[in-house]
Symmetry: C2
Subunit: 344 residues, 2 copies
DNA sequence: TTGAAAGCGCTAACAG
DNA sequence: CTGTTAGCGCTTTCAA
């Protein structure tokens, strides 16, 4: 009886699972050689490699990545933590990441915090337990426990979405500047009574930062900067409802600066249904640059953010870091573009 | 020197990593008792449990899930494989799954096949290597290698989206019936010259199944069932462009049955821009029941599918199975609802 | 309720 | 280029 195929009573082996040792035995080599043939093909002779691969095929061997990760303390797992999957913005970032990472043989562990920093901490703990190769998280805000945990982690951490003092790598855009930019555009267009509408700004604090920029710009011009904060999540429906609210609370409003395109498009379509002319009766602006905004009439004025590109770039930087290259930038400003439509 | 803290030269331990043994030692118990205190709290005395938890806290212990999974061959990892992340339909299913699974302490390994069955096979192989507790995959089509691999896997497999002869568990709806239903509605409305427009039906074969139902219904009424297949993915833009194409290829068309709401909404908005009246000049119908359809004017006639609910139900059935309950149904028909708008 | 011993399947380290 | 040895950190099995 071979030592590779224990039969003693205490064995806990899954009976059906084909192991690397079996493959090695079938190929007439040692387990470590079989391991090399699969993971470092160049460190093994061609003939050895081929006979190992043949045995793999014949036996239907599926590598046990759990065992491999434990032994090597590397996992090719990348944790991605987002605050929401409803918001298409995060999905697009995931898409950009996923596309690039999967092509390089990394797998994605996905977590959703629902905008809860304690939940984020729990997810981070779990993901560290999986020996992830890197962690991607949306935003720069974390609780203390989370920061402590990550402080000495030793693997790349990528914080995406907004720009600032990150823990490690950081890719995003300046939301305050974006808010300022749109406010400036509205003022330029001649609007003076401008309301900002956002949804749950304590959660979606990046929308809050845009409001801050907006407010600063308006104050600088001697204008008031009223804010309507909705208690629901951003959606077409919420946008439609907010329009009525704004017109009730601030009847003289000339323009509404929405925190995102969903809200803005919802309001725009609602305005149309009510026979209001956009932008003559009310001007509407959004943020994100969703395709929808360019298909409705009038076209939505918005700020385009390169979300998928942000995900791709984040993935590229991570891969560069993970492959030991030291030539990388700690921070990337992906910028934004004011897209002037016909709604302002 | 304790045997739990080896100092010999061959040790491969990560110096900083706190292990369960260290926690156990600090708490004055054996490693296995510490393990039980964390994973089976009821199998340990209250005082032991508390002192272990205290040591965990004090030392900042983070369980190594890789080691735990190897030892127990259980991982609390659920693999989700979808063909696309652009299509919001899959994202909503992921959301439903994620919400339910994460609440039960499962983590999600996400894979994207890009509608490629060979890629799916690779992903499945990788995920099996992670000792996933279960696998969720979109659709019933897989290649032979994939089927072989999964045939004796021994863990729950959930195939979502369409209904049919699944490998294990199956949740979805009857797409052929949905296509028939919408065709029937259009005929009822008095339309006779109806074009079906889909995007890449060999990839999005569920849209192809809906076309089949559509065609059958039309043929049964003695009507032709012309098909326009687009080479791009479904999007507002593609929908807008397809409208012109249909009007060119089939000038007498009275109604267009689109494979999904993105295409339909794109066409509807394009029609408006061109001054075409919907449904008088051209009727438009979609599939999915996206919110957008209910916010444009005229409201889009569509078929509502319960996508998030499908994800949630799938997760619930999986959890039921994983917790050893035998009371579960192999197949769930989540149905669909014809939502008659003003666009037909 | 607790512990001792023995692995889970793989790879790092070192030697040849 | 290949093999030997010894773990990775945890949980199973069995015994007390």
């Amino acid at each position: 009886m071979s030592k590779d195929l224990p039969t003693n009573a205490k064995s806990r082996r899954r009976p059906e699972q084909v192991t690397l040792s079996q493959v090695a035995q079938a190929a007439g080599v040692s387990p470590i050689t079989a391991s090399r043939a699969l993971n470092h093909p160049d460190k093994v002779s061609t003939s050895t490699r081929q006979s190992v691969l043949q045995s793999v095929e014949r036996l239907g061997y599926v590598p046990n990545l759990v065992a491999g990760s434990l032994a090597s303390s590397r996992s090719r797992l990348i944790a991605i933590i987002v605050p929401s999957l409803i918001n298409s913005v995060f999905v697009e970032i995931i898409k950009g990441l996923q596309e690039t990472l999967e092509a390089q043989g990394y797998q994605i562990l996905l977590g959703n915090t629902d905008y809860d920093l304690d939940r984020e901490y729990q997810l981070v703990r779990t993901f560290l337990g999986w020996s992830c190769s890197a962690l991607v998280t949306a935003g720069l805000r974390h609780n203390d426990a989370c920061r402590t945990l990550l402080a000495n982690w030793g693997h790349p951490i990528m914080e995406v979405m907004e720009l600032g003092k990150g823990m490690d790598l950081n890719i995003g855009l300046d939301h305050t500047a974006a808010g300022r930019c749109m406010a400036n555009h509205l003022i330029d267009r001649g609007y003076q009574r401008i309301v900002y509408v956002g949804a749950r700004l304590s959660h979606d604090y990046r929308a809050g930062m845009r409001y801050l920029g907006h407010k600063k710009m308006l104050k600088a011009k001697g204008l008031e900067a009223p804010l309507l904060e909705l208690n629901t999540l951003g959606s077409l429906q919420a946008g439609a409802e907010s329009l009525a609210q704004v017109l009730k609370d601030y009847p003289a409003t000339q323009a509404i600066h929405f925190a995102n395109d969903d809200l803005a498009a919802g309001a725009l379509l609602a305005a149309q249904r009510q026979g209001l002319s956009v932008p003559d009766d009310i001007a509407i602006a959004g943020f994100n640059g969703l395709p929808l905004g360019q298909h409705i009439t009038p076209k939505l004025t918005t700020i385009l953010s390169p979300r998928e590109a942000m995900g791709r770039l984040a993935a590229q930087e991570l891969i560069r870091r993970l492959s030991g290259k030291s030539v990388y930038r700690r921070q990337h400003d992906v910028g934004f573009t004011l897209q002037v439509g016909e709604s302002t």
